[in-house]
């Protein structure tokens, strides 16, 4: 009995301590928190306003300033390296992609977010929680958006062409569907114009247990069958004539969605935000499906993430705010209303709120969670940023017919050995 009483007392004390600790974070004078993002601050500012509405104590304790630190994840990561190198003040919350996580995590630079995540842990999709967890069991990143592979398509166009995404199971089916849609409607179901982005390759590789390095960090891939097949697949798409020659992120790409020239996209979940902006008058015409059966699994860069550096001025406060930001079920509904990002929470899977979507319809929630079951990230090495520049160049040279497949892979391997040496060194 005495032991039980002592245990209850100890637990009570612990709970009080943790409670006091959490409360302490929001005590004292108001501070300025910096949130580093890329491209645009507008959406983040809207989301932050909702966050303060949901958690007034955040507004009383902190002014969150959203700052653009690059025009993409690579740009933000570069800025962080420069700040770390110059020993300058780091932003409190940093948005990067999972591709950059390994570099900062392996260097021991990240703040352990375990305590802040603890209240929400049971509700997080296991595959996502696994990616958030470091080798020592600590949690070092939070999902801004999990990025499983999702196929977005125009229902009206596919109906007219007699294409049902569920019947498209193989690469050959996919090419055939592309031809059918183009013949029937004049639109394209995909674009494979060069230069392709590294993520086009990584979306294929991430589902197939491939790595550029062996377990020691040495580069060995010139004779790897998985990589060879991925290159050949993209070459088949590129040369098939069934897909548009437009390249991604060009002015033509956006215009092709706006005009309806592109009626589908085999990509990752993040594409929905762009469709909402680029083709707002096509609401209700778009839906989504899982990738063709043969190509499922994997992701584009795993997920968009938030990280907090150990040396950030208000790391503990930033961690607590970001945990609320990422997982509070009520707040996430507000986020969904702003940018259509569904949180990777088990409770969101059955939450009818996410089934309501004027643009993509109820399929968005269903497909997102189905695809999340296959979520898998490429095992990013700390030097992945350098690797992707090299492999992308040889991929595009190969697609344009400037180099043979053997030479492309052999030269890419030689360049990685020359430029990077060892991925973990």
């Amino acid at each position: 009995m005495k032991k039980l009483l002592a245990l209850i007392l100890a637990l009570g004390l612990l709970t009080t301590c943790f409670g006091a600790l959490a409360e302490d974070l929001y005590a004292g004078e108001k501070v300025k928190l910096e949130m580093a993002v890329w491209n645009s601050v507008e959406t983040y500012e809207k989301i932050n306003a909702s966050l303060i509405e949901r958690f007034p104590e955040i507004g009383q304790k902190a002014d969150i300033e959203v700052v653009i630190e690059g025009d993409g994840d690579v740009g933000v990561a570069q800025k962080m390296r420069l700040l770390l190198g110059a020993k300058e003040t780091l932003p409190d919350m940093v948005r990067v992609n999972y591709a950059q996580f390994a570099e900062f995590a392996s260097a021991g630079l990240l703040y352990d977010l375990s305590a802040a995540v603890e209240p929400y842990k049971a509700d997080i999709i296991p595959a996502v929680l696994d990616m958030m967890t470091g080798e020592d069991g600590g949690i070092y990143c939070l999902p801004q958006e999990a990025k499983p592979k999702v196929w977005y398509y125009r229902t009206d166009v596919f109906e007219k062409a007699g294409v049902n995404p569920a019947d498209v199971k193989t690469m050959e089916d996919y090419i055939e569907a592309g031809r059918k849609v183009h013949e029937a409607t004049g639109t394209w179901i995909e674009n494979y114009g060069t230069p392709l982005n590294a993520y086009d390759l990584m979306m294929i590789l991430s589902g197939k247990d491939f790595s550029f390095t062996d377990e020691n960090g040495d580069f060995h891939f010139a004779d790897n069958e998985v990589l060879r097949e991925a290159f050949e697949t993209l070459k088949t798409y590129h040369d098939s004539g069934a897909f548009s020659p437009i390249e991604e992120w060009s002015a033509d790409w956006q215009a092709a969605f706006t005009s309806g020239e592109l009626s589908s996209q085999l990509i990752a979940s993040w594409m929905k935000q762009h469709l909402l902006t680029w083709a707002p008058d096509q609401a209700g015409l778009w839906s989504c499906a899982e990738w063709p059966e043969e190509m499922r699994g994997g992701s584009d860069a795993g997920m968009g993430i938030w990280i907090v550096f150990k040396d950030a001025p208000h790391a503990a406060l930033a961690a607590d705010i970001l945990a609320k930001y990422s997982f509070d079920p009520e707040f996430r509904r507000a986020v969904y209303s702003i940018n259509a990002v569904i949180p990777p929470l088990l409770s969101a899977k059955t939450d009818e709120f996410y089934a309501k979507n004027d643009y993509f319809g109820p399929e968005l929630q269903k497909v997102y969670f189905e695809a999340l079951e296959d979520l898998k990230a490429y095992p990013y090495e700390p030097t992945f940023s350098a690797e992707q520049v090299i492999i992308r160049d040889y991929l595009n040279d190969y697609l344009n017919g400037n180099i043979s497949l053997d030479d492309a892979l052999k030269n890419a391997e030689a360049d990685m050995i020359n430029q990077i040496g060892n991925a973990y060194d």
């Binding site: 420069l82 215009a255 350098a386």
Partner: protein, 295 residues
């Protein structure tokens, strides 16, 4: 032996001896802090394996060796030379001809309109201009293809990708060099030109035997400054040809630096920076020799 008068003055008034150094001290301090120390630090880093954080590992000249045996470095150097030469020739010819036309009083009217118009591309933000050129050269939405009724893939075909960048460099730089040439031409005395006229020289003869020889120092200055600027080319090709960094097959040399910073290899980035300095130095010496031989 008697001391010189000046030395005697300095000994009598030590403050006078210190005063000049005090005047240049702020410059020396900033020179040391913002130039000399970073330069030395950069040399040191170029001999290290260093991510920008964590520990540095001494690797000697390995970073330089790796770069010199990296095909992409030579490709990027050739790309930079291509951007430099293919843009510089039209820029210099156009700018000089425009300056001559304006100076010759053939176009006396509307100077207040066309001079700012010619200079305006220099004032426009380079990022905004690059994004506009990206749209102009688009395959479907691009003005060029729409006017010509073609569908050239200027932004995706490696054989054509340098063209939009070169066009932008010409558009952007002509106005700047026009102003420099015009100010150079105004230093040529009217008496000299009148004398050539009285001697029976035609306009073309005056141009080749009077104007161009007198303008030689200006040409020297413009070629050297253009070359230095051209080797530091970065924004235009990267913004026009890509979302983040241009493919290595069309990338300028500076991408060797930024790609290595992106890849977390500050040592290699510093080494690439020093290789760039050596190339610029070699090119400047070559240009100066060429002008010297001409003299």
């Amino acid at each position: 032996m008697a001391k010189p008068k000046a030395a005697r003055g300095a000994a009598r008034y030590p403050k006078r001896q210190i005063a000049p150094y005090l005047f240049i001290f702020p410059f020396l301090l900033s020179f040391l802090a913002f130039f000399l120390v970073p330069v030395v630090y950069s040399v040191v880093i170029s001999l290290m394996k260093y991510k920008g954080y964590g520990t540095m590992k001494y690797v000697g000249f390995d970073n330089y060796r790796r770069l010199f045996t990296y095909n992409a470095m030579w490709t990027s150097l050739l790309n930079t030379l291509e951007y430099f030469i293919l843009a510089m020739i039209p820029v210099m010819i156009l700018a000089f001809l425009l300056a001559v036309v304006v100076r010759s009083h053939a176009l006396t009217r509307w100077q207040k309109v066309y001079k700012p118009l010619l200079f305006m591309p220099q004032v426009c933000a380079v990022v905004a201009s690059s994004l506009v050129f990206k749209v102009i050269f688009g395959t479907n939405v691009g003005a060029i293809n729409q006017i010509l009724g073609t569908s050239f893939n200027f932004l995706g075909d490696t054989k054509l990708m340098k063209l939009p960048v070169i066009c932008m460099l010409i558009w952007r730089n002509t106005g700047w060099y026009f102003i420099i040439f015009l100010s150079g031409l105004t230093t040529i005395s009217d008496d000299l030109l009148d004398a050539a006229k009285i001697d029976g020289a035609t306009s073309v003869q005056t141009m080749f035997h009077v104007t161009i020889p007198v303008m030689k120092p200006i040409f020297k200055l413009t070629f050297i400054t253009y070359a230095i600027g051209a080797f530091k080319l970065y924004t235009e090709p990267n913004l026009i040809l890509s979302k983040e960094e241009a493919p290595l097959s069309v990338a300028p040399f500076v991408n060797m630096i930024t790609t290595n910073i992106n890849g977390g290899s500050l040592g290699m980035a510093s080494a690439a920076g020093w290789i760039l300095v050596l190339f610029i130095l070699a090119l400047t010496v070559m240009q100066m020799r060429m002008f010297k031989e001409g003299e």
